[in-house]
């Protein structure tokens, strides 16, 4: 009967193949996760099977809680919200929450309150990244949060609070009749302008940069707690794409974070909740198996930094570290447990329940020798064709010159396929610094 039930369950459920695990002294072939715990030994190894199963589960007593399963370590980024106040309304836009390791974002809900910190009244808005809260009272401050929901409508990510105070639409400034230019400056006065304010957390003392539509605009220095505020005024009312990035005190650049925001005349549009991904580096590009690789970088002081590595086949490792008061974190990867091959290690930060994106990471190889990572110069990056330590409109223009020209220089052929085409532009834009 038990065999029949077992066979029957195998027909209706989707099986998950296990894989071999090896070390210097044993091979564990097709390990089976059993419901009950167990222990198997030989003269050279011990194998413990846990009381958990592949799905997540929780066992509790008065003295402990055991949480089992890799799914207890899923990752999801928090939405970054932009609030633009209007006449009796506040328009909200937010970045999509990105999830992995067991979570999927299926939709969002918007929480609204007239008190900072809530209690919020939530409305499910579906799988969109914008919503306009209307029917509001002009002159009253409203506070909003956006939550990402999984397939079961559980809130798995929450943005920081954004605020907006609706106001009656001001009388537009009259604009002159269009005409030709007169040289030496703009031909026409610009219409009533708006302002952008972007705030968030980078790393202590980091140089934080804001690009508007891909071009350099303004910088600031983050405080000792990593927080920063950037403000850009005199913007034509329109929709812009802002890129925020930072360079830490060790000279490492963060991954860029992109936020689209609509600027309204005579209004300050606020972007809140920016949490830049940690910077990351490894002390070795190749390591003899058994030696340690040090993963380090900077994040917000006290952030909980999750470090994830993936390599050949199903090889993975995971750890968490608390960033110090100076924002630095450090973790030693024991390569004795890793198979030979190339690995990528990434990290993300969590501060007060808000998750940063995973960074692009660094790569290292577990092999037969150890090669120390050479000192990084900020001008060594690919796509910096004129070696000015930036990848910007000059490098873009150089690539435009070579677009589909025969026999391009190898230095501009970023994809090494003998021609300059859209692929090379994509690679250049990936390294964009503005």
């Amino acid at each position: 009967m038990a065999v029949a039930l077992l066979l029957g369950s195998a027909l209706v459920v989707r099986p998950l193949l296990a894989t071999d695990y090896t070390s210097n002294s044993f091979i564990l072939r097709d390990p089976v996760i059993v419901v009950e715990g167990g222990r198997a030994t030989s003269t050279s190894f011990e194998y413990f099977s846990s009381t958990s199963q592949t799905d997540i589960g929780e066992s509790t007593s008065t003295t402990f809680i055991q949480r089992a399963g890799f799914l207890y370590f899923p990752v999801v980024t928090s939405p970054v919200v932009t609030a633009t106040a209007g006449n009796a309304q506040v328009a909200l836009t937010w970045t999509a929450a990105s999830a992995s390791l067991g979570w999927t974002v299926s939709g969002y809900e918007v929480g609204q309150s007239t008190t900072s910190g809530g209690t919020y009244s939530y409305t499910n808005v579906g799988a969109v990244t914008s919503s306009t809260q209307s029917g509001l009272t002009n002159g009253t401050a409203y506070y909003f949060v956006v939550r990402g929901l999984d397939a079961f409508s559980n809130a798995i990510a929450t943005s920081t609070e954004a605020t907006g105070t609706p106001a009656a639409t001001p009388t537009p400034t009259p604009t002159p009749t269009p005409g030709g230019g007169t040289g030496g400056g703009a031909s026409l006065p610009r219409p009533a302008a708006g302002t952008i304010s972007a705030s968030g957390t980078a790393y202590p003392g980091a140089l934080v940069q804001l690009l508007k539509d891909g071009q350099f605009t303004v910088t600031t220095i983050a405080a000792t707690d990593g927080t920063f505020t950037l403000r850009l005024a005199n913007l034509t009312p329109a929709t812009y794409r802002f890129i925020i990035s930072a360079t830490d005190s060790d000279g490492r650049r963060s991954d860029p974070m992109t936020v689209a925001a609509t600027v309204t005349a005579n209004t300050t549009t606020t972007i809140v909740g920016i949490l830049l991904a940690p910077t990351i580096g490894t002390d070795k590009v190749e390591v003899r198996r058994g030696e340690a690789v040090v993963v380090s970088g900077q994040s917000a002081p006290g952030a909980n930094v999750a470090i994830l590595g993936d390599g050949p086949g199903d090889a993975e490792f995971f750890a968490t570290q608390a960033a110090g008061a100076d924002g630095r974190y450090r973790y030693e990867v024991d390569t004795g447990q890793l198979v030979l091959g190339g690995y990528r290690v990434r990290s993300r930060a969590t501060v007060d329940g808000v998750n940063s994106p995973l960074n692009r990471g660094e790569r290292f190889t577990v092999g037969e020798r150890t090669v120390i990572t050479p000192p990084q110069r900020s001008c060594d990056g690919p796509a910096d064709f004129n070696h000015d330590c930036r990848v910007n409109i000059i490098d873009f223009s150089i690539l435009v010159y070579w677009f589909y020209r025969p026999n391009p220089l190898s230095s501009v052929d970023l994809s090494s396929d003998g021609r300059v085409d859209l692929t090379d532009f994509s690679i250049l834009i990936y390294h964009w610094t503005g």
Partner: protein
């Protein structure tokens, strides 16, 4: 134990496989919409091309627009495009386009560009994109799956008593966005000459053209006194000694302009030495005047 191993591990509900297996990613889409979808000969319509990529970040888009022969393209509108930089900008004469999005794009529909088309003869067909490419923002430029959703359009015969419907002109009294000029030089580019680079956006009607002028002199004259030449970035400057002003004028499709000026690089050095020369002359002049005054006030010498 062997029986359990043979049957393998059953999975209940959750997505552990997603941890190890490759996840299925929805394709990016380019959606074409035409308003109105039915028109008469002489009528105009708006055709919008929109990019959507909700599951992954993309940063480069290219393709060729497909316009049925019974329609004529009267205007290209790319002022509100999600693309910040064009490699090949769509024109009324051409059909190919390509551009990039610094920072990447992941989200719901965002406009690439729109066209104002006019029915020239009766017909029925689809508006779409051929050879579409969307590349991932992954550092390798890998091609993302792309689905193109075309739009159907019908042009019927004109009714003589009815005035043709036209698409309203985009009201645009705003100059293009302010922009900075930069000089650059790179091996193999324009024979190693100095060039000027520039790019900006116009949020309403879009950029129509760029023009460059150079002026050698102490003061820049009004724009109408400059000799303007149509230009694309990178543009080689004539004065390779960089002693001239470089002026770039961006004009949008409504005729509004924004002019950016780059002062002469070499002039800064001349100014530096000129200032010191003036100071030196001034010091010498003061010293001379002081000396001559001291001579006049001194008592006359006595002879005898």
């Amino acid at each position: 134990m062997n029986l359990v191993k043979t049957i393998m591990v059953a999975r209940w509900g959750a997505v552990v496989g997603a941890v190890f297996a490759a996840s299925v990613v929805s394709a990016a889409t380019i959606t074409v919409e035409v308003t109105p979808p039915s028109l008469r000969v002489g009528d105009q319509a708006i055709v919008s091309f929109q990019l959507e990529s909700t599951q992954e970040e993309v940063n480069a888009v290219a393709g060729t627009v497909v316009i049925p022969p019974f329609l004529a393209v009267r205007e290209v509108r790319d002022g509100g495009s999600v693309m910040n930089f064009w490699i090949r900008r769509l024109t009324t004469d051409g059909s190919a386009f390509s551009g990039v999005i610094p920072g990447g794009f992941q989200g719901e529909r965002a406009e690439l560009f729109s066209l104002v088309v006019e029915g020239v003869i009766e017909g029925r067909g689809d508006l779409g994109v051929n050879d579409g490419q969307v590349l991932r923002n992954d550092g390798s430029g890998t091609v993302a799956p792309l689905v193109v959703r075309p739009a159907s359009v019908t042009v019927a015969h004109a009714v003589p008593a009815v005035a043709p419907a036209v698409v309203p002109v985009v009201p645009d009294a705003t100059p293009p966005e302010p922009f900075a000029l930069q000089l650059g030089r790179a091996p193999g580019v324009l024979d190693g000459r100095w060039f000027v680079v520039f790019a900006t956006q116009d949020k309403d009607s879009g950029i129509a053209r760029y023009e460059v002028a150079e002026w050698r002199g102490s003061r820049l004259p009004p724009a109408k006194q400059l000799t303007w030449r149509l230009a694309e970035s990178p543009y080689p400057i004539s004065d390779q000694a960089r002693r001239s002003y470089v002026v770039v004028r961006a004009t949008d499709r409504a005729g509004n302009t924004w002019v950016s000026v780059l002062p002469p690089v070499a002039a800064m050095k001349y100014k530096f030495w000129l200032i010191w020369a003036i100071l030196a002359v001034g010091i010498v002049a003061i010293a001379l005047i002081a000396w001559r005054r001291s001579r006049r006030s001194a008592p006359p010498s006595v002879h005898g």
